[in-house]
Amino acid sequence: MTEVSSGVGQSDATRVTEDVLDDAAARAVEAAVAAPECGAVVTFRGVVRDEDGGRDVTSLDYEAHPDATAVLRRVCADVAAETGLRVAAAHRFGHLVVGDVALVASASAGHRAEAFAACSLLVERIKAEVPIWKKQQFTDGESEWVGL
């Protein structure tokens, strides 16, 4: 198990990790937001796609800053404070191939509309604020850093 530096006071499920994000990992993220009063749990899985901008993608190499877990936990705390809801997320780094899960993000609420909105907000914030990068490998042998 390799993780990028951890924080305190939040669920261990929220982390930036080299571990595979399989069904058990996704359930752990969901379990971190579950509560008796929550009738809606929304989970988003970000999955490596086989194309980008019309080019065929074979794999993605994700890189994380040493503080990435701490930033992810701060982002979750911010979204939780803003929405008043429970949220959690796990992000993977390392070499991922098409079909691999890169991100699991969950939010829970009494009803579905709030849970969908909070999960969407959480994913947007993660993409904008957590120091993670990815390099796309294309089938033609070329590669590029996304967003650079």
């Binding site: 890189e63 503080d67 120091p131 993670i132 990068w133 390099k135 650079l148």
Partner: protein, 80 residues
């Protein structure tokens, strides 16, 4: 002396993961950017798109980098 760490595409453009940089005292962030771009020509076009993290906080144009600081060069984030 500053320690500069390069991440992802910035590391690739710089050709190194980190380096020590002699700056001779507190340095405005704009001057640091010019010095980094001049010392590694391949880095210049990437550096202009990067944020600088100085001692753990994101630098603005007004930031003065204290001697001895850890500076991280961060390309635009691309998680998710």
């Amino acid at each position: 002396m500053l320690t500069v760490r390069y991440f992802a595409g910035a590391r690739e453009a710089a050709g190194v993961a980190s380096e020590q940089l002699e700056v001779g005292g507190p340095t405005p962030v704009a001057a640091l950017r010019r010095a980094l771009a001049a010392s590694r020509p391949g880095l210049a076009p990437v550096l202009s798109r990067c944020a600088l993290l100085v001692a753990g906080s994101r630098a603005t144009d007004d930031t003065v980098v204290p001697d001895g600081a850890l500076v991280d060069v961060l390309p635009p984030f691309a998680g998710g």
